[in-house]
Symmetry: C2
Subunit: 419 residues, 2 copies
């Protein structure tokens, strides 16, 4: 793989994007939708080959992340259509002011430039990321996991042909098929060309990226999400929200991994909740209070409170107050998404203010923390960092701005009255 050629192709594509407009970008997305439908069987077959390769060698939650079935394929196509129908934000002028000096100031929204994304498993991520990059006029280099390389190759072919048909250089979206870490390491050196790197995966991947690059990095860490059931919670709603947050899908980063229950409501809720979790074959790791109430609970160790299981296990703790819950979440959570269930509006307000996570929720399942549900059309990932973009990252997170400043000859000396 010739990295400098790859970079120079990306830069050419960047210039081509800059010369184009929103109708061109939407045309690529339309061609992508058509291409995915045309190649559906080919892509699903490639995915089945990928899944077959790991079957029996990995756990169910891991395999579930790889699978592209008909439903998920439909969702992937719907996601591209939804991105296509989003209003275009590029070139938009906002925050305009006229200063007392007469200076007219505004911001203009522009693409970031070239994005490198390194990710694992879920193949719909390839299409979501490429579609969002195209929509926002960004060039993207995608380095997916080796366990779905056949699927990604098939998706990459559709992307390449869509770009070519729309008259854009194929370098606008590169799906890397080489699986060598050396390629990644080499790419990470190009901070003069690449504007953002998004490592979506394990903490080890993030550390590898940080150790090898000066490119600004979008933190994308684990989701140790909490549901806190307050003393004033509606028990039926608490049960519904908690069960959905944990069991609707086990392997996603917005799945709840830990449950906190106020002491006053624990005895009323826990037995029913535990039995429902049992029906879903979820193991409970509980503190002392939980283990007293729930016979089948296993005692939790200190490590359980910061664990992202991504599987059929949940940690459960009884707390004495809302303050104890927010302190626990700020200490052990990963800053991803945390939710309170309560009918007490002031308790909800305190929770929403005091919990420092990217998304804080009231009476809502953590599973709803994603770009699609938040109205972003789709997401390129979930930022657990504080800079630039937090939580689900959609169109806006892939853009930046420049200051547009106009006057009729204003100077510093003039403003100081020394001209």
């Amino acid at each position: 793989m010739d990295i400098s050629k790859l970079i120079s192709q990306a830069q050419q594509a960047k210039a081509a994007f800059a010369a184009g407009d929103s109708s061109q970008r939407n045309k690529i997305l339309k061609l992508l939708v058509d291409g995915l439908e045309r190649d559906r069987e080919k892509i699903l077959a490639a995915n089945q080959a990928d899944v077959k390769q790991v079957a029996g060698k990995s756990d169910d939650a891991f395999i579930d992340r790889l699978v592209l079935n008909d439903q998920r394929f439909d969702d992937m196509v719907t996601s591209v259509k939804s991105i296509m129908s989003l209003p275009d934000i590029l070139g938009k002028i906002y925050d305009s002011t006229t200063q007392p000096s007469g200076l007219v100031i505004a911001k203009m929204r522009i693409p970031l430039g070239i994005i490198l994304m390194i990710y694992e498993s879920r193949p719909n991520v390839t299409i979501d990321a490429a579609a969002l990059a195209i929509k926002t006029g960004n060039v993207i280099i995608l380095k997916g996991g080796h366990e779905v390389q056949r699927t990604n190759k098939a998706l990459g072919d559709v992307l390449t042909s869509s770009l070519k048909r729309a008259g854009l250089p194929a370098g606008a979206v590169t799906v890397l098929t080489s699986q060598s870490r050396l390629v990644t390491k080499e790419l990470l050196k190009h901070d003069e060309a690449i504007d953002l790197v998004i490592p979506r995966g394990s903490r080890q991947l993030l550390e590898f990226v940080q150790a090898n690059t000066n490119i600004p990095t979008l933190l994308h860490l684990e989701g140790n999400c909490h549901v806190y059931i307050d003393a004033a919670a509606n028990p039926k709603m608490a049960l519904r929200v908690a069960l959905d947050a944990k069991t609707q899908r086990l392997g996603t980063c917005n799945t709840a991994e830990s449950l906190l229950i106020h002491r006053d409501i624990a005895e009323a809720i826990l037995p029913v909740l535990a039995s429902e979790l049992s029906n879903h074959k979820i193991e409970i790791r509980g503190d002392e209070a939980v283990c007293r109430i729930v016979k089948q609970a296993v005692p939790a160790s200190e490590g359980d409170w910061s664990q992202e299981y991504l599987g059929p296990t949940i940690s459960v703790k009884v707390v004495d107050s809302l303050a104890a819950a927010t302190t626990h979440i700020n200490k052990y959570g990963s800053g991803h998404t945390d939710s309170i269930v309560t009918d007490d509006a002031s308790a909800a307000e305190r929770f929403l203010r005091q919990v420092n996570s990217a998304s804080v929720m009231h009476n809502t399942s953590t599973r709803l923390a994603d770009g699609y549900e938040f109205g972003l059309g789709a997401e390129i990932g979930t930022s657990t960092g504080k800079l630039h973009a937090r939580g689900p990252v959609g169109q806006a997170g892939l853009t930046t701005y420049k200051w547009i400043v106009k006057s009729r000859g204003l100077t510093k000396s003039g403003i100081l009255g020394k001209e």
Copy 2:
């Protein structure tokens, strides 16, 4: 210096800020204004001792950056007052939407947390940075240059006493007096506690920071700012803007270091401009066309086009078109601030769209690219990066947001109709 103690004090101060409100933060700023006025003579004397130390050993532009005279002291105090009078943005709810699912989404503005700033020379930076951090509820650790250590010590004393009088832990603003790089290196390891590092100074400083930290870094590189005099420029305005951009102050990052002139207007403008620059003792490094027109011009080398002189030198080049000007700026500029002088609105529009810099200007001196002139009250620096904040960084750049999500028990299963 006990770094872990410093970090734990910063974390305590962060909690104290979170428990406080805008009236408390403004009270600190009021006490800071009073304290600066009270200690004015002491601070100016400390600054004179600092300046005396380097006199004769450094060039004029460097020394000019250190000096705190009565005028600059007044400006510094005015800046704190101006920050104090800014509307408070913390806790503000914005971008509210209700999704088709019923999910109610909004963002809430919150402080970044703990900021580390490493900077050189200008002592007003200490006060601007501290005041902006206090206004935005951020804890800040300030590591200034050794050449103004006496000044910074005196300013730090005022800050500490202002915080104490307002009932806040002194750890909210730390002005480091130790000059060891080891202290900085040790601080840079604390990415678990520090949310942002701002290295304001040389490229070497930035590289030192990047090599030693995983903390997100606000790029703050040199300003190789351009003024482009278009064929359709008003000659008097062009002269006024270009001279102000270069000569109003030599040692600042928004000073113009390079001048581009359209061929059609070069012979009319250059002789007058050159003679005015001579009056200001500015040396011209010109391309061939410039050297033909201006006798005293020195031939420019390739290196001149990317040079930030911060002194009495300017590079000047004749270009054949607006496209040649924007290409030159995107190639050799530093992405800081670039300005076009023209009476042709469509030429201005093309320049503003095509130049990729953080601030792009029309008929305006580059010297006006700062937080105060842009209405931000003050700035903590100028970002030449693309992520998070670009150009002058004020209140908003020192904050982030969290997503606030509310519903009446919405779940993923419910939305999918599978509950």
